[in-house]
């Protein structure tokens, strides 16, 4: 518990890192957007029987990721992805005197070392004395964070958040608050999740996985595609920002609100999403008309897109901003999605990018919302809103603003 004073001082995004199905780093992801190349495909690395389901895998096996991350061979894929993206973010920020600053790692994930645990379980389910323990002793979500914090030498505040698909958006805004309380100068914040049989089968039981490539906000949408990856931003205080050669943008608004409607389904009028977006605007002291682009949660399920679209219409109509779901490229990366999309949003503000919403043909009948379908550069974007909504009604919106 700090004795620091809380101030509403500005927080800046100084670095960004991503690994996901459309690229091993930020540059590769932007190239994929430019070329309109989505990351979904058949299953190559995930060892599930549900081969009929497209997934958005990171295009490397664990052996290759181990080399890229510089971690030990038995490390969970969740931690490998996390380490690669977080390290990119940190090196991108280029903070020279980081050892003399208070630096933290606030990371999110939803299933921890489940990729290893489910392997352990194949033997354990048959014989309680079987299964290699090293495959299960990093099952906890927190272990993933600790391993990466250790690698990156981030020590002053290290914690893990898990609120389903909004996890890493919550991690980013918690990190910003830690800086505002004077507990940190620099925070690497975001999240990670590897594809696992556990989540694939779980989402499959809910019957919300599309056998085709997902079509967010389209009238014919039939579910989501699962993806994997990690995305992190480096948040810094005003003082640290002043010492850096480049920053992306200001992180100006955030809110978490609960839909309090159903454990997995969103309310028809999108109460939680509406409250989250409204709360983030209020925090950033902005009006709806100030938002120039929305990076949608946009999973491609009937329920999410309807609720999110309804909430957007309620809040923004008649002047609805440009919008798109980058999940049409990356798939739904669950606990990583808020981090990955925060990076896309920060880049959008900096470079005026608006990302295409692939495979969109016709707006949802009940809502006349048409996402952007081509890649724009140099669009005049003052403020970008990023939505992340998860199970348990957990709705988070973040706002990134021109510095």
């Amino acid at each position: 518990m700090s004795n620091g004073e809380y101030t509403d001082a500005p927080i800046y995004v100084a670095g960004a890192g991503i690994i996901c199905a459309i690229g091993n780093n930020v540059g590769e992801c932007i190239t994929s957007f430019e070329q309109g190349t989505a990351g979904m495909g058949g299953m190559t690395y995930l060892n599930s029987l549900h081969k009929e389901l497209p997934v958005a895998e990171v295009k490397h096996n664990n052996k290759e990721l181990v080399v890229m991350a510089g971690m030990t061979a038995s490390t969970s894929r969740t931690a490998l992805l996390s380490c690669i993206a977080a390290r990119e973010a940190l090196s991108d920020a280029g903070i020279k005197n980081i050892d003399s600053l208070r630096s933290g790692f606030i990371s999110a994930n939803t299933v921890g070392g489940m990729d290893k645990s489910e392997h352990f379980f194949e033997a354990f389910a048959v014989d309680r004395n079987a299964g290699r323990l090293r495959n299960v002793n990093n099952h906890e979500c927190g272990n993933i964070t600790e391993m990466v914090a250790e690698q990156l030498n981030l020590r002053d505040q290290v914690t893990t958040i898990s609120t389903a698909c909004s996890s890493s958006a919550n991690a980013i805004f918690y990190a910003a608050r830690l800086i505002r309380h004077g507990l940190l100068d620099v925070a690497v914040a975001g999240g990670t999740d590897a594809l696992t049989k556990f989540t694939l089968n779980g989402f499959n039981t809910l019957m919300i996985l599309d056998k085709e490539y997902c079509r967010p906000f389209d009238d014919t949408r039939a579910g989501l595609n699962l993806g994997e990856g990690a995305g992190y931003v480096v948040l810094v205080s005003e003082k640290v920002a002043a010492s850096l050669p480049h920053i992306y943008c200001r992180f100006s608004g955030y809110n978490n609100s609960n839909d309090a409607y159903h454990q997995t389904a969103s309310s028809p009028d999108g109460t939680g999403s509406y409250l989250a977006m409204q709360g983030a605007l209020k925090k950033a002291k902005l009006q709806p008309a100030d938002i120039d682009y929305i990076n949608l949660h946009g999973t491609g399920t009937q329920n999410n897109d309807n609720a999110e679209g309804t909430a957007i219409t309620r809040l923004f109509a008649p002047h609805v901003p440009r919008m798109s779901s980058t999940k049409s490229f990356t798939g739904h990366t669950l606990g990583a999605s808020g981090g990955i999309e925060a990076v896309f949003s920060a880049l959008a503000v900096k470079h005026g990018y608006v990302y295409p919403n692939l495979r969109f043909e016709a707006p949802m009948k009940e809502l006349q919302l048409t996402p952007e379908t081509s890649f724009l550069k140099n669009a005049p974007l003052r403020h970008v809103l990023s939505n992340s909504f998860g199970f348990g009604g957990n709705c988070t919106s973040l706002i990134f603003s021109k510095a």
Partner: protein, 348 residues
């Protein structure tokens, strides 16, 4: 800003939910202590009780009771810590996935396996749209949730915060943690935990919730301070660190009436506490508590509940074998796996 604890509830392997404070201790002759579930009918909808797994039931019920005790209808925020999340459902889904070869799996265990299920079910039960967060950081899951709660109050984002923890020990996790070497090889009475002179500890589980706010009230207990130390070769819990923690609050060890320490019956690990008792705590009565609830990653929430309850009751229960009849200021000093250490200071 002063932070007050207005109510505290715990469901644990002892009778902690209702009635007299630890008057009759429950004895276990196993290394696995399980919570005593109270009747939930007054707290939760009957249909919900049936559908919820144990951790969700106990967490949600403890939270609802905590709010009732504080006479609050809607909290300004809900923050939960859990190291392992909903293990029963996770284990069920994993087992079925293997046994049924990924075919015809039931959705409910997957839905309820999500780490934020307890926090979400509290919101759902209360129709509460406020901030809702879940920390899953091993032995600091509860402390992280507490820190978030305190920060929210300081930001004036919430008038009050419902904060707590929940962790369950299931058949599967008990078997795995036993194989990982966490628990004693031989079972004895939990009440003899500190006389075993053997390595390792006993497993436990539980939930505790607290209602925090910056507004004083008649029975409220002040949370004066909290700090965490990640123990490594660089950072050990030392008398100097404890003194430094107290001095931040302009206090010294003489101002503390009772210490609640995190001894867990491991002859080696408890050496830390023996050393502290010979040094900084030499003049202080020390309460040990892990024989009551077992050891688990969010166990410090039980210790905070105990500290709150002792101050509120105005007496230290006889069953804790401490000469001190009452306490106004208690220092809670916990360690988990000799790695996660937290200090919490509460006062009348």
């Amino acid at each position: 800003m002063k932070i007050y604890i207005h109510s505290a509830t715990a469901i644990s392997p002892q009778h902690t939910f209702d009635g007299a404070l630890l008057e009759d201790l429950v004895t276990y002759n196993t290394n696995r202590l399980q919570v005593i579930e109270p009747p939930y009918q007054d707290l939760l909808d009957t249909k919900l009780i049936r559908r919820m797994s144990r951790i969700i039931r106990m967490g949600t019920a403890a939270a609802i009771k905590c709010l009732r005790d504080a006479e609050i209808d809607q909290p300004g925020a809900i923050v939960t810590g859990t190291a392992y999340g909903c293990l029963e459902d996770t284990g069920t889904f994993l087992t079925k996935m293997v046994e049924q070869c990924e075919d015809l799996l039931p959705p409910t265990p997957f839905i309820q396996s999500t780490h934020n299920t307890v926090s979400a079910q509290i919101a759902l039960t209360l129709h509460c749209h406020a901030y809702n967060n879940t920390f899953v950081h091993n032995g600091f899951s509860f402390e992280s949730a507490m820190q978030d709660a305190v920060l929210l109050l300081r930001e004036q984002e919430a008038d009050n915060v419902l904060v707590g923890s929940a962790d369950e020990l299931t058949d599967i996790s008990y078997q795995i943690l036993t194989r990982l070497g966490l628990y004693k090889k031989q079972a004895g009475s939990n009440l003899d935990l500190f006389n075993t002179n053997t390595k390792r500890t006993i497993g436990g589980e539980g939930t505790a919730f607290f209602l925090l706010s910056p507004t004083p009230s008649q029975d409220a207990v002040v949370l004066e301070g909290m700090n965490t130390f990640y123990l490594s070769e660089h950072a050990q819990l030392s008398p100097e660190r404890i003194a430094a923690f107290l001095s931040v609050h302009n206090l010294s060890v003489e101002d503390v009436d009772v210490v609640i320490d995190g001894s867990n019956g491991d002859a080696i690990e408890d050496g830390l506490y023996k050393f502290l008792q010979q040094t900084i705590f030499s003049a202080l009565p020390v309460i040990r508590y892990k024989h009551l609830c077992g050891d688990y990653p969010t166990v410090s929430s039980f210790a905070l509940w105990l500290a709150y309850s002792i101050i509120k009751a105005g007496k230290v229960p006889f069953s804790l074998h401490v000469k001190q009849p009452s306490a106004k200021r208690i220092l809670v000093c916990n360690t988990y796996l000799n790695k996660y250490c937290s200090l919490m200071l509460v006062t009348k």
